[in-house]
Symmetry: C2
Subunit: 212 residues, 2 copies
């Protein structure tokens, strides 16, 4: 078998990828949300994201406004934080944070018999900043966010709810979609730290393209 | 609709997830390779990894031996590096490295009109260590590794070839499988930094479980 590499300039690879994704979409998608949907498809090479992504009413405008006012992005994994374009985020004064490995978070989780993800959400909620939560791993984090919102202790600008997995993942996403909060959720089992970061980046690239 | 959370102790979530995966496997899988395959399914909630993962002859023994002798793991993204269990790796003297953001790598890529991933592979190849490459993003990195192996300039212990995407991804994986090198490859478009890290971790957890 002959293996033939496509000749594409390094700077053109993403553009070409997006064209391929566009050409293979199973059905038309909302043009305003397309950059988010297509970036998720791109990140996992998985067209399931065309149909599993759920957006609350008016979430795009709210999300972009939050980034523009310097919202901090809180992740539940260092991997998601690592995937977020911090240079782009810093343009608006924003920062990405993950508290999962912090010593006080460990201690708190141990004391409460809870997960470190839950303790990390508690710590984040105490920040005096507009907050975007990007949850790609821990359903327990998403459930904790739901509880804090319901208790009136937390009012995030946006929740990106894309934990991946088999235990309480589906339920945690359904739960957060019942809360009074702007959300972007990947319904079902799929998601991940890479998808969480991809959605954050897609939002920032929408802003960047608007300002071109 | 009532949303019912499953009661599972935080420490039991992964075990329960693996049981669910086991129960939903589309067909029996090689028990020796099962921990790797199941961890990939777990990472993406995607059973495609049951059939797209390809293993070179005897790769498991070679991969475990490499880790045991303190091989360094080289990734093509900071995200993959971030997902690798460095504490576990350090038990054997190993380290995880990603050179993609290094100043000399940037400069070299620019000078050569190449990708930073290619320049990062060049830099890694110069290390005087047993090397495992875990490529979850850049097909150009995988092609570069192929070329260096063919030229006799590089003899890695293992290549984890799981870039994700739409341009030259499929081809780069087919190419590396023709090289004389132990490999674990996710055939097709799927993969990612998360999958690259998951495979590294799966290998380390196999060793950990053997030593229990």
């Amino acid at each position: 078998m002959e293996i033939k590499l496509e000749r594409v300039l390094p700077t053109e690879i993403e553009k070409r990828s997006m064209e391929i994704i566009e050409s293979e979409l199973p059905h038309p998608i909302d043009p305003a949300l397309a950059p988010i949907i297509k970036r998720c498809v791109h990140t996992a090479a998985d067209f399931d994201y065309v149909d599993n992504l759920c957006f609350s009413d008016g979430v795009l405008e709210k999300a972009l406004a939050a980034i523009q006012k310097g919202a901090f992005i809180i992740t539940d994994t260092t991997m998601a934080k690592s995937g977020i374009n911090k240079t782009e985020l810093a343009k608006y004064g924003g920062e990405a944070h993950c508290f999962i490995a912090d010593e006080d978070v460990r201690a708190c989780a141990k004391a409460n018999g809870s997960t470190r993800a839950v303790a990390a959400m508690e710590k984040a909620a105490a920040l005096d900043k507009p907050l975007i939560f990007a949850i790609g791993n821990a359903p327990t984090a998403l459930v904790k966010l739901y509880e804090m919102i319901e208790e009136g202790r937390l009012k995030p600008e946006l929740i990106i709810g894309v934990p991946v997995g088999f235990v309480n993942v589906v339920q945690s996403k359904e739960l957060i979609m019942t809360a009074d909060v702007p959300y972007i959720v990947a319904r079902g089992r799929k998601g991940g730290s890479n998808i969480a970061a991809a959605i954050c980046n897609a939002l920032m690239y929408i802003l960047r393209d608007q300002n071109k």
